[in-house]
Symmetry: C2
Subunit: 420 residues, 2 copies
């Protein structure tokens, strides 16, 4: 069968004025692509009836499916439901089931009766099928306009995302001829997107039953595997077979799957070993600590650290000898090692990571250009160090430095690590 033609419409003056960025397009595009359903067009219009109606009629004459986000709330600039009714040439009706739901929802939260104008939230076009909304009072609904089946959703990202996942994607999945989807995201570090592609290309060619997708989340690269099938057992078996082959091909780059962060993956491993980590950071200015502690529960492995941006603080807080800094410079192997050892001695943690480098844009010299970084790791059995050179702007150099330090720790924990 030919893939159905899917479009997306976003409404809202705040997007057209640039007050907010539309993130709903990327969300649904990322969810549709693995189903083999590429978005064909996205249309963004403001809160004007004629523009919304125009977009609905044009798309209705062209697409098989369309998702619409925004304009379903209770305020005067929420016009989408009324425009949908006009485009479908049907009147509005008050949905009894949703109205009861609204009254129960209200009663569970407040003692006074629900104001009459809140009942408006149960108004939908007469021929609409109410889909609901697990997190809010404006119901999503499906409605046919022209040749196209539209799904109307609230624009609030939290409500929108859940409705897409739970109520819209299963319907679109059916349209592809499959009924079950299983997905895995394999997260890699230390490999470029083109090398990743190359490493798995023969596996992809041998398994047309699984779709491969790539996504860059600097400095990581992710591979997504999607198995579509008529039943769960087939989808799971297909996915498991291909995943095992990919895991083998990506060994040394693959650090985790399905949303764990790089720092979290390292941290969880430390926690399992009953070990802890502390950081001594110069050019990264707290970024490594921030990555290590941004996950809930990180207090199990992350003790914290020292941000010794100035040379004086390197000396005072970490005991880095002043003559070491004078002799080799703050960005040097001896200073990185002394920072790591000083941090570990002062914190009493199992491990300590140190970063000292030149993140730019100024501060570079011919011998130590912007991007020069020294990394060090101190542990029970001594310390190790590594020099690195990173390209990019200040933020990119800082991020790569933090990743490089975590990678040094992963190696010490026994991971095989490849360089691409």
């Amino acid at each position: 069968m030919t893939a159905p033609l899917v479009e997306f419409i976003v409404t809202g003056d705040e997007v057209m004025r640039g007050t907010i960025a539309d993130t709903n397009t990327q969300f649904i595009a990322q969810r549709l692509y693995p189903l083999g359903l590429t978005l064909r067009r996205t249309t963004v219009v403001g809160d004007r009836s004629e523009d919304i109606r125009g977009a609905l009629l044009e798309t209705g004459s062209r697409a098989d499916f369309c998702v619409v986000s925004g304009g379903l709330g209770p305020t005067s600039d929420d016009l989408t439901a009324a425009c949908a009714a006009e485009a479908a040439s049907v009147p509005m009706r008050r949905d009894r089931v949703w109205l009861d739901h609204l009254r129960r929802r209200w009663a569970a939260r407040r003692s006074e009766p629900m104001p009459a104008n809140n009942e408006r939230q149960a108004d939908v076009p007469e021929t609409a099928e109410v889909l609901g909304n697990p997190d809010g009072s404006a119901p999503a609904f499906a409605l046919r306009i022209g040749r196209c089946l539209f799904f109307f959703l609230p624009g609030v990202p939290r409500e929108y995302r859940r409705i897409v996942e739970e109520l819209v994607l299963p319907r679109l999945l059916q349209a592809t001829g499959a009924s079950v989807l299983r997905m895995r995201v394999l997260q890699c570090y230390g490999v470029t997107e083109s090398r990743l592609d190359e490493l798995v290309s023969s596996i992809r060619d041998g398994h047309p039953e699984v779709r491969f997708g790539f996504r860059t989340k600097f400095p990581e690269n992710h591979l997504s595997l999607v198995a579509l099938a008529a039943d769960a057992a087939t989808a799971e078996a297909n996915l498991a077979r291909v995943e095992a082959e990919c895991r083998e091909a990506l060994a040394g780059y693959l650090y985790g799957s399905d949303g764990v962060t790089f720092a979290q993956a390292v941290g969880q491993e430390l926690a399992a070993r009953g070990e802890t980590i502390c950081c001594a950071e110069s050019c990264t200015g707290g970024l490594l600590d921030d990555l290590l502690t941004e996950a809930p529960g990180s207090s199990a492995w992350a003790a914290g650290g020292f941000v010794t941006y100035s040379n004086e603080l390197k000396e005072r807080a970490l005991g880095v000898p002043r003559d070491l800094i004078d002799r080799y410079g703050a960005v040097s192997e001896p200073v990185a090692l002394a920072m790591a050892e000083g941090a570990r001695a002062r914190s009493g943690t199992s491990w300590a990571l140190a970063i000292t480098g030149i993140a730019g844009p100024s501060g570079g010299t011919p011998e130590k250009p912007v991007g020069t970084v020294w990394l060090a790791l101190a542990g029970r059995d001594g310390a190790r160090s590594r020099s690195a050179f990173y390209r990019g702007d200040r933020g990119q150099i800082r991020l790569q430095s933090a990743y490089g330090a975590l990678q040094l720790l992963r190696e010490a924990l026994g991971h095989r690590v490849r360089s691409s």
Copy 2:
């Protein structure tokens, strides 16, 4: 005169697949809005000739101006220039001036002659006016299709943004009847958007010659003032008058203007006084240090700090007495004060800021729910502290905590500070 109807078109498979988020729409929307030119519609299509051509023809029959981003590069999926020529029913031509520019650009960088297929980058529709590209090899151009004047731009954000600012906006500005624009962004902290609106509403009503815009950059709120006029002196005088009134109305909330960050504003003030700062962070895990050091040149004021996530590190690195933690808890006024004093004593800086709190999602208790934070500041003349309660998710609580600490320092530096 009626405002011209302006649209925007984005092309690119990577947007339709969700591989990248389109940021070009928000950029131009934000730039157009202060000119009184609201985007009427944005259309996003993939790299298919028929879809690009279709979008150009539809917009060409509807809009006065349209900016198009993407598809001007040298690769096989860069189809926009050819589609533009087809939509305008003109052949392509090789632009001699741009070709010479390409050859000079190539010669300045490499010794071998420019390959013939690079000449394609000088191909534009016959009736196009070449606008150029200060940062790249694909030239932007203007072309009339139907009733609409199109501006075709490369999609790479860095190139795109500069061309919008320098080559497109001045042309669109003329279309508004004005010829000069002067703009100021006043950046506020500690005030909600609605309160900000209220504070300046009478000024706005009294000065229709200046446009007011609001933008939230959590936890900050910004007010933009735009003066359009026929000549620079008038635009500048109008802007200066309104800016002075707004500065007075916003005193106590206004911390800076035109892109300085909150941390930078505080840091620059410290640098001017010859003072330095160090941080002792618990729940923020390095975020405050990261904010203070993300700006180039921050080594003049930021010494670094201590991320004492664990109680043990609070004791070891900062000398917080263990019995203080046992008696009052890690999130308490005495511990916050001891952290600040310990950090200042160990770093030798003029000031030290401390943050200890519960960022969630777990860790809250009935007495100290998630969002409870203690802030402290130590200086030459002793220490001060403040308790705060922040709402939001973990990231929002961490960010507000870091801002709260910086605000405590601003007060100590003598700023009048209002609470909204």
